[in-house]
Symmetry: C2
Subunit: 217 residues, 2 copies
Protein backbone atom coordinates (compact mmCIF):
# COMPACT_ATOMS: atom_id res chain seq x y z
CA UNK A 1 0.00 0.00 0.00
CA UNK A 2 1.14 3.48 -0.62
CA UNK A 3 -1.52 5.98 0.38
CA UNK A 4 -2.34 6.12 4.09
CA UNK A 5 -5.48 8.15 3.56
CA UNK A 6 -6.89 5.44 1.33
CA UNK A 7 -6.54 2.85 4.07
CA UNK A 8 -9.95 1.21 4.33
CA UNK A 9 -11.07 2.45 7.76
CA UNK A 10 -7.96 0.82 9.16
CA UNK A 11 -6.52 2.15 12.41
CA UNK A 12 -3.78 4.70 11.89
CA UNK A 13 -0.13 4.24 12.64
CA UNK A 14 1.56 6.06 15.51
CA UNK A 15 3.73 7.81 12.94
CA UNK A 16 0.68 8.86 10.97
CA UNK A 17 -0.90 10.44 14.01
CA UNK A 18 2.26 12.29 14.94
CA UNK A 19 3.01 13.56 11.47
CA UNK A 20 -0.53 14.65 10.73
CA UNK A 21 -0.49 16.52 14.02
CA UNK A 22 2.80 18.19 13.08
CA UNK A 23 1.50 19.14 9.66
CA UNK A 24 -1.75 20.62 10.90
CA UNK A 25 0.10 22.65 13.51
CA UNK A 26 2.34 24.06 10.79
CA UNK A 27 -0.60 24.57 8.44
CA UNK A 28 -2.41 26.54 11.13
CA UNK A 29 0.58 28.80 11.53
CA UNK A 30 0.92 29.44 7.81
CA UNK A 31 -2.73 29.60 6.74
CA UNK A 32 -3.54 31.94 9.63
CA UNK A 33 -0.76 34.30 8.60
CA UNK A 34 -1.20 34.34 4.82
CA UNK A 35 -4.64 32.99 4.03
CA UNK A 36 -5.27 30.02 1.76
CA UNK A 37 -4.12 31.44 -1.55
CA UNK A 38 -1.22 33.28 0.00
CA UNK A 39 0.18 30.14 1.58
CA UNK A 40 2.43 27.64 -0.16
CA UNK A 41 2.95 23.97 0.54
CA UNK A 42 6.70 24.60 0.72
CA UNK A 43 6.14 27.11 3.52
CA UNK A 44 4.07 24.66 5.49
CA UNK A 45 6.61 21.93 4.85
CA UNK A 46 9.41 24.10 6.14
CA UNK A 47 7.53 25.04 9.31
CA UNK A 48 6.61 21.40 9.83
CA UNK A 49 10.23 20.41 9.30
CA UNK A 50 9.65 17.97 6.49
CA UNK A 51 9.85 17.79 2.73
CA UNK A 52 7.01 18.83 0.47
CA UNK A 53 6.37 15.38 -1.00
CA UNK A 54 6.31 14.00 2.51
CA UNK A 55 3.55 16.42 3.38
CA UNK A 56 1.66 15.42 0.28
CA UNK A 57 1.95 11.81 1.38
CA UNK A 58 -0.31 12.61 4.33
CA UNK A 59 -2.57 15.19 2.69
CA UNK A 60 -3.01 14.77 -1.02
CA UNK A 61 -3.63 18.42 -1.77
CA UNK A 62 -3.29 21.82 -0.18
CA UNK A 63 -7.05 21.97 0.02
CA UNK A 64 -7.17 18.69 1.94
CA UNK A 65 -4.83 20.19 4.53
CA UNK A 66 -6.98 23.25 4.82
CA UNK A 67 -10.14 21.22 5.12
CA UNK A 68 -8.72 18.93 7.79
CA UNK A 69 -7.56 21.97 9.72
CA UNK A 70 -10.94 23.66 9.56
CA UNK A 71 -12.77 20.51 10.58
CA UNK A 72 -10.50 20.14 13.58
CA UNK A 73 -10.69 23.76 14.71
CA UNK A 74 -14.27 24.78 13.96
CA UNK A 75 -15.88 22.71 16.67
CA UNK A 76 -13.77 24.05 19.51
CA UNK A 77 -14.19 27.51 18.09
CA UNK A 78 -17.92 27.36 18.70
CA UNK A 79 -17.60 26.03 22.26
CA UNK A 80 -17.90 29.40 24.02
CA UNK A 81 -21.25 30.03 22.38
CA UNK A 82 -22.45 26.51 23.21
CA UNK A 83 -21.82 27.15 26.90
CA UNK A 84 -24.21 30.07 26.77
CA UNK A 85 -26.80 28.86 29.24
CA UNK A 86 -30.50 29.67 29.04
CA UNK A 87 -30.99 28.85 32.71
CA UNK A 88 -28.22 31.09 34.01
CA UNK A 89 -28.32 34.70 35.07
CA UNK A 90 -28.43 36.78 31.86
CA UNK A 91 -25.93 39.39 32.95
CA UNK A 92 -23.52 36.76 34.24
CA UNK A 93 -23.95 34.68 31.08
CA UNK A 94 -23.18 37.58 28.78
CA UNK A 95 -20.27 38.66 30.92
CA UNK A 96 -18.69 35.23 30.90
CA UNK A 97 -19.34 34.76 27.19
CA UNK A 98 -17.35 37.92 26.55
CA UNK A 99 -14.62 36.63 28.87
CA UNK A 100 -14.40 33.31 27.11
CA UNK A 101 -14.30 34.88 23.66
CA UNK A 102 -11.61 37.30 24.76
CA UNK A 103 -9.57 34.49 26.26
CA UNK A 104 -9.77 32.61 22.99
CA UNK A 105 -8.61 35.69 21.12
CA UNK A 106 -5.67 35.89 23.49
CA UNK A 107 -4.80 32.18 23.65
CA UNK A 108 -5.72 31.05 20.14
CA UNK A 109 -5.20 34.01 17.84
CA UNK A 110 -4.14 31.80 14.95
CA UNK A 111 -7.45 29.96 14.98
CA UNK A 112 -9.24 33.28 14.94
CA UNK A 113 -7.19 34.54 12.02
CA UNK A 114 -7.69 31.31 10.13
CA UNK A 115 -11.44 31.93 10.08
CA UNK A 116 -11.06 35.66 9.61
CA UNK A 117 -9.02 35.10 6.47
CA UNK A 118 -11.62 32.71 5.15
CA UNK A 119 -14.64 34.87 5.91
CA UNK A 120 -12.95 38.02 4.70
CA UNK A 121 -12.43 36.38 1.32
CA UNK A 122 -16.10 35.40 1.09
CA UNK A 123 -15.67 32.12 2.96
CA UNK A 124 -15.16 29.98 -0.14
CA UNK A 125 -14.26 26.89 1.87
CA UNK A 126 -16.51 27.16 4.92
CA UNK A 127 -19.76 28.63 3.66
CA UNK A 128 -21.60 25.39 4.30
CA UNK A 129 -20.43 25.30 7.91
CA UNK A 130 -21.52 28.88 8.41
CA UNK A 131 -24.94 28.33 6.92
CA UNK A 132 -25.38 25.01 8.70
CA UNK A 133 -23.97 24.35 12.18
CA UNK A 134 -23.10 27.96 12.94
CA UNK A 135 -26.44 29.40 11.92
CA UNK A 136 -28.29 26.67 13.80
CA UNK A 137 -26.38 27.34 16.99
CA UNK A 138 -26.79 31.09 16.70
CA UNK A 139 -30.52 30.80 16.01
CA UNK A 140 -30.88 28.74 19.14
CA UNK A 141 -29.05 31.25 21.33
CA UNK A 142 -30.92 34.13 19.75
CA UNK A 143 -34.11 32.64 21.13
CA UNK A 144 -32.58 32.52 24.60
CA UNK A 145 -31.62 36.17 24.44
CA UNK A 146 -35.01 37.09 23.06
CA UNK A 147 -36.68 35.35 26.00
CA UNK A 148 -34.47 37.25 28.45
CA UNK A 149 -35.42 40.53 26.84
CA UNK A 150 -39.09 39.63 26.87
CA UNK A 151 -38.87 38.76 30.57
CA UNK A 152 -37.35 42.19 31.21
CA UNK A 153 -34.03 40.77 32.39
CA UNK A 154 -32.06 42.69 29.79
CA UNK A 155 -32.89 45.55 27.49
CA UNK A 156 -34.85 44.81 24.34
CA UNK A 157 -32.42 44.50 21.46
CA UNK A 158 -31.75 42.60 18.26
CA UNK A 159 -30.03 39.43 19.48
CA UNK A 160 -28.30 38.75 16.17
CA UNK A 161 -26.56 42.09 16.24
CA UNK A 162 -25.70 41.61 19.89
CA UNK A 163 -23.89 38.40 19.02
CA UNK A 164 -22.16 40.06 16.07
CA UNK A 165 -21.02 42.85 18.39
CA UNK A 166 -19.54 40.40 20.88
CA UNK A 167 -17.82 38.46 18.14
CA UNK A 168 -16.35 41.49 16.47
CA UNK A 169 -15.15 43.32 19.57
CA UNK A 170 -13.44 40.29 21.06
CA UNK A 171 -11.95 38.79 17.90
CA UNK A 172 -10.67 42.21 16.97
CA UNK A 173 -7.82 41.72 19.43
CA UNK A 174 -6.69 38.59 17.60
CA UNK A 175 -7.48 39.47 14.00
CA UNK A 176 -6.32 43.08 14.02
CA UNK A 177 -3.56 42.67 16.56
CA UNK A 178 -1.10 44.51 14.32
CA UNK A 179 -3.32 47.58 14.30
CA UNK A 180 -4.05 47.41 18.02
CA UNK A 181 -0.33 47.26 18.77
CA UNK A 182 0.45 50.08 16.36
CA UNK A 183 -2.15 52.35 17.92
CA UNK A 184 -1.45 51.50 21.54
CA UNK A 185 2.29 51.75 21.01
CA UNK A 186 4.74 49.18 22.28
CA UNK A 187 4.41 50.44 25.85
CA UNK A 188 0.74 49.41 26.17
CA UNK A 189 0.91 46.31 24.02
CA UNK A 190 1.74 43.86 26.81
CA UNK A 191 -0.65 41.17 27.93
CA UNK A 192 -2.27 43.78 30.18
CA UNK A 193 -4.21 45.08 27.21
CA UNK A 194 -6.49 42.06 27.40
CA UNK A 195 -7.43 42.94 30.97
CA UNK A 196 -8.15 46.52 29.90
CA UNK A 197 -10.21 45.26 27.00
CA UNK A 198 -12.15 42.88 29.24
CA UNK A 199 -12.95 45.65 31.70
CA UNK A 200 -14.10 47.98 28.96
CA UNK A 201 -16.18 45.43 27.08
CA UNK A 202 -17.92 44.21 30.21
CA UNK A 203 -18.79 47.77 31.13
CA UNK A 204 -20.02 48.47 27.62
CA UNK A 205 -22.19 45.41 27.22
CA UNK A 206 -23.50 45.21 30.77
CA UNK A 207 -24.48 48.87 30.90
CA UNK A 208 -25.53 48.82 27.29
CA UNK A 209 -27.97 46.00 27.92
CA UNK A 210 -29.17 47.04 31.36
CA UNK A 211 -32.89 47.65 31.63
CA UNK A 212 -33.64 51.34 31.99
CA UNK A 213 -37.20 51.20 33.24
CA UNK A 214 -39.47 54.24 32.76
CA UNK A 215 -39.07 55.01 36.48
CA UNK A 216 -35.41 55.50 37.20
CA UNK A 217 -34.11 55.77 40.80
Amino acid sequence: MVLPRAAKTQRRTRIQEEKEEQILEAALEVFATHGFRGSTIDQIAEVAGMSKPNLLYYFRTKEAMHRALIDRVLDSWLDPLREFDAEGNPVAEIRSYIRRKLEMARDFPRESRLFANEVLQSAPHILDELRGPLKTLVDEKVEVIRAWAKAGKIAKCDPYHLIFAIWSTTQHYADFDAQVRAVLGEEHSGEGRFEDAARFLEQLFINGLAVHGPASS
Copy 2:
Protein backbone atom coordinates in the same frame (compact mmCIF):
# COMPACT_ATOMS: atom_id res chain seq x y z
CA MET B 1 9.89 58.82 -23.80
CA VAL B 2 8.57 55.43 -22.79
CA LEU B 3 7.76 55.37 -19.10
CA PRO B 4 4.98 57.74 -18.02
CA ARG B 5 5.84 57.41 -14.37
CA ALA B 6 9.35 58.67 -15.03
CA ALA B 7 8.03 61.88 -16.54
CA LYS B 8 9.87 64.65 -14.75
CA THR B 9 6.96 66.23 -12.81
CA GLN B 10 5.24 66.77 -16.15
CA ARG B 11 1.47 67.06 -16.23
CA ARG B 12 -0.25 63.78 -16.95
CA THR B 13 -2.12 62.89 -20.10
CA ARG B 14 -5.85 62.45 -20.14
CA ILE B 15 -5.31 58.83 -21.09
CA GLN B 16 -2.94 58.37 -18.20
CA GLU B 17 -5.46 59.68 -15.73
CA GLU B 18 -8.23 57.53 -17.13
CA LYS B 19 -6.21 54.35 -17.28
CA GLU B 20 -4.68 54.76 -13.85
CA GLU B 21 -8.18 55.29 -12.52
CA GLN B 22 -9.39 52.15 -14.29
CA ILE B 23 -6.48 50.14 -12.95
CA LEU B 24 -6.86 51.28 -9.36
CA GLU B 25 -10.58 50.52 -9.47
CA ALA B 26 -9.80 47.00 -10.66
CA ALA B 27 -6.96 46.63 -8.18
CA LEU B 28 -9.29 47.59 -5.34
CA GLU B 29 -11.74 44.94 -6.41
CA VAL B 30 -9.09 42.23 -6.60
CA PHE B 31 -6.88 43.14 -3.65
CA ALA B 32 -9.93 43.52 -1.40
CA THR B 33 -11.14 40.07 -2.34
CA HIS B 34 -7.91 38.09 -2.28
CA GLY B 35 -5.34 40.11 -0.34
CA PHE B 36 -2.00 41.15 -1.75
CA ARG B 37 -0.33 37.77 -2.07
CA GLY B 38 -3.50 36.10 -3.22
CA SER B 39 -3.99 38.54 -6.09
CA THR B 40 -2.36 38.28 -9.49
CA ILE B 41 -1.59 40.97 -12.01
CA ASP B 42 -3.45 38.97 -14.64
CA GLN B 43 -6.58 39.06 -12.51
CA ILE B 44 -6.38 42.80 -12.13
CA ALA B 45 -5.68 43.19 -15.82
CA GLU B 46 -8.73 41.14 -16.71
CA VAL B 47 -11.00 43.14 -14.40
CA ALA B 48 -9.54 46.37 -15.75
CA GLY B 49 -10.09 45.13 -19.29
CA MET B 50 -6.53 45.51 -20.49
CA SER B 51 -3.45 43.43 -21.05
CA LYS B 52 -0.90 42.70 -18.34
CA PRO B 53 1.99 44.57 -19.98
CA ASN B 54 -0.31 47.52 -20.40
CA LEU B 55 -0.98 47.56 -16.70
CA LEU B 56 2.73 47.37 -16.01
CA TYR B 57 3.22 50.34 -18.27
CA TYR B 58 1.34 52.47 -15.75
CA PHE B 59 2.47 50.76 -12.55
CA ARG B 60 5.84 49.17 -12.72
CA THR B 61 5.18 46.50 -10.13
CA LYS B 62 2.32 44.86 -8.29
CA GLU B 63 3.53 46.55 -5.14
CA ALA B 64 3.39 49.97 -6.81
CA MET B 65 -0.27 49.35 -7.63
CA HIS B 66 -0.99 48.35 -4.07
CA ARG B 67 0.85 51.32 -2.66
CA ALA B 68 -0.91 53.79 -4.94
CA LEU B 69 -4.23 52.27 -3.95
CA ILE B 70 -3.49 52.50 -0.24
CA ASP B 71 -2.30 56.08 -0.52
CA ARG B 72 -5.46 57.04 -2.33
CA VAL B 73 -7.84 55.28 0.03
CA LEU B 74 -6.27 55.71 3.45
CA ASP B 75 -6.96 59.37 3.81
CA SER B 76 -10.66 59.18 3.10
CA TRP B 77 -10.82 56.14 5.32
CA LEU B 78 -9.81 58.21 8.32
CA ASP B 79 -12.23 61.04 7.60
CA PRO B 80 -15.01 59.87 9.92
CA LEU B 81 -12.64 59.93 12.88
CA ARG B 82 -11.32 63.37 11.90
CA GLU B 83 -14.84 64.78 12.04
CA PHE B 84 -15.08 63.72 15.66
CA ASP B 85 -15.56 67.11 17.28
CA ALA B 86 -14.27 68.04 20.73
CA GLU B 87 -16.72 70.94 20.97
CA GLY B 88 -19.80 68.92 20.11
CA ASN B 89 -22.21 67.09 22.34
CA PRO B 90 -20.47 63.84 23.40
CA VAL B 91 -23.45 61.57 22.96
CA ALA B 92 -24.29 63.09 19.59
CA GLU B 93 -20.66 62.89 18.46
CA ILE B 94 -20.35 59.23 19.33
CA ARG B 95 -23.68 58.46 17.77
CA SER B 96 -22.81 60.13 14.50
CA TYR B 97 -19.34 58.59 14.44
CA ILE B 98 -20.97 55.18 14.61
CA ARG B 99 -23.36 56.23 11.85
CA ARG B 100 -20.57 57.40 9.60
CA LYS B 101 -18.48 54.29 10.13
CA LEU B 102 -21.47 52.09 9.44
CA GLU B 103 -22.27 54.00 6.29
CA MET B 104 -18.73 53.51 5.10
CA ALA B 105 -18.97 49.79 5.78
CA ARG B 106 -22.14 49.74 3.70
CA ASP B 107 -21.01 52.01 0.87
CA PHE B 108 -17.30 51.16 0.68
CA PRO B 109 -16.92 47.56 1.79
CA ARG B 110 -14.01 46.94 -0.58
CA GLU B 111 -11.96 49.68 1.02
CA SER B 112 -12.65 48.17 4.41
CA ARG B 113 -11.60 44.72 3.24
CA LEU B 114 -8.48 46.08 1.61
CA PHE B 115 -7.26 47.26 5.01
CA ALA B 116 -8.63 44.25 6.83
CA ASN B 117 -6.62 41.94 4.60
CA GLU B 118 -3.50 43.97 5.23
CA VAL B 119 -3.90 44.22 8.98
CA LEU B 120 -4.93 40.60 9.35
CA GLN B 121 -1.68 39.57 7.73
CA SER B 122 0.35 41.74 10.08
CA ALA B 123 0.07 44.90 8.00
CA PRO B 124 3.33 44.38 6.09
CA HIS B 125 2.67 47.28 3.71
CA ILE B 126 0.94 49.82 5.94
CA LEU B 127 2.61 49.49 9.33
CA ASP B 128 4.20 52.91 9.00
CA GLU B 129 0.85 54.53 8.30
CA LEU B 130 -0.68 52.80 11.31
CA ARG B 131 2.11 53.83 13.64
CA GLY B 132 2.26 57.35 12.22
CA PRO B 133 -0.83 59.19 10.99
CA LEU B 134 -3.35 56.74 12.41
CA LYS B 135 -1.84 56.62 15.89
CA THR B 136 -1.46 60.39 15.96
CA LEU B 137 -5.09 60.92 15.05
CA VAL B 138 -6.30 58.34 17.54
CA ASP B 139 -4.18 59.75 20.35
CA GLU B 140 -5.69 63.15 19.70
CA LYS B 141 -9.28 61.87 19.84
CA VAL B 142 -8.48 59.78 22.89
CA GLU B 143 -7.72 62.99 24.74
CA VAL B 144 -11.08 64.40 23.71
CA ILE B 145 -12.91 61.37 25.03
CA ARG B 146 -10.87 61.40 28.20
CA ALA B 147 -11.86 65.03 28.79
CA TRP B 148 -15.53 64.19 28.28
CA ALA B 149 -15.27 61.39 30.83
CA LYS B 150 -13.49 63.63 33.31
CA ALA B 151 -16.19 66.26 32.91
CA GLY B 152 -18.79 63.62 33.72
CA LYS B 153 -20.41 63.83 30.30
CA ILE B 154 -19.92 60.15 29.57
CA ALA B 155 -18.97 57.22 31.74
CA LYS B 156 -15.32 56.76 32.64
CA CYS B 157 -13.79 54.25 30.26
CA ASP B 158 -10.64 53.41 28.35
CA PRO B 159 -10.93 55.57 25.21
CA TYR B 160 -8.61 53.36 23.15
CA HIS B 161 -10.80 50.35 23.66
CA LEU B 162 -13.89 52.42 22.98
CA ILE B 163 -12.48 53.34 19.61
CA PHE B 164 -11.50 49.74 18.91
CA ALA B 165 -15.02 48.66 19.78
CA ILE B 166 -16.57 51.15 17.38
CA TRP B 167 -14.17 50.16 14.62
CA SER B 168 -14.70 46.46 15.05
CA THR B 169 -18.48 46.47 15.39
CA THR B 170 -19.03 48.67 12.37
CA GLN B 171 -16.39 47.25 10.03
CA HIS B 172 -17.63 43.79 10.91
CA TYR B 173 -20.51 44.31 8.49
CA ALA B 174 -18.10 44.92 5.61
CA ASP B 175 -15.26 42.57 6.50
CA PHE B 176 -17.31 39.60 7.63
CA ASP B 177 -20.26 40.15 5.35
CA ALA B 178 -20.19 36.52 4.24
CA GLN B 179 -20.66 35.36 7.81
CA VAL B 180 -23.31 37.94 8.60
CA ARG B 181 -25.30 36.87 5.56
CA ALA B 182 -24.88 33.20 6.35
CA VAL B 183 -26.12 33.65 9.90
CA LEU B 184 -28.99 36.00 9.12
CA GLY B 185 -30.10 33.93 6.18
CA GLU B 186 -30.99 35.35 2.82
CA GLU B 187 -34.30 36.70 4.12
CA HIS B 188 -32.67 39.18 6.52
CA SER B 189 -29.65 40.02 4.40
CA GLY B 190 -31.17 42.94 2.56
CA GLU B 191 -29.98 46.48 3.03
CA GLY B 192 -32.30 46.70 6.03
CA ARG B 193 -29.71 44.91 8.12
CA PHE B 194 -27.67 48.10 8.24
CA GLU B 195 -30.60 49.95 9.81
CA ASP B 196 -31.00 47.18 12.38
CA ALA B 197 -27.29 47.27 13.09
CA ALA B 198 -27.31 51.05 13.49
CA ARG B 199 -30.21 50.89 15.93
CA PHE B 200 -28.55 48.20 17.99
CA LEU B 201 -25.11 49.79 18.05
CA GLU B 202 -26.44 53.19 19.01
CA GLN B 203 -28.40 51.65 21.84
CA LEU B 204 -25.36 49.66 22.96
CA PHE B 205 -22.87 52.49 22.93
CA ILE B 206 -25.14 55.26 24.17
CA ASN B 207 -26.46 53.23 27.08
CA GLY B 208 -23.10 51.62 27.64
CA LEU B 209 -21.43 55.00 28.03
CA ALA B 210 -24.21 56.80 29.88
CA VAL B 211 -23.20 58.14 33.25
CA HIS B 212 -24.78 56.16 36.07
CA GLY B 213 -24.08 58.61 38.84
CA PRO B 214 -24.72 57.65 42.47
CA ALA B 215 -27.81 59.85 42.28
CA SER B 216 -29.68 58.89 39.13
CA SER B 217 -32.51 60.99 37.70
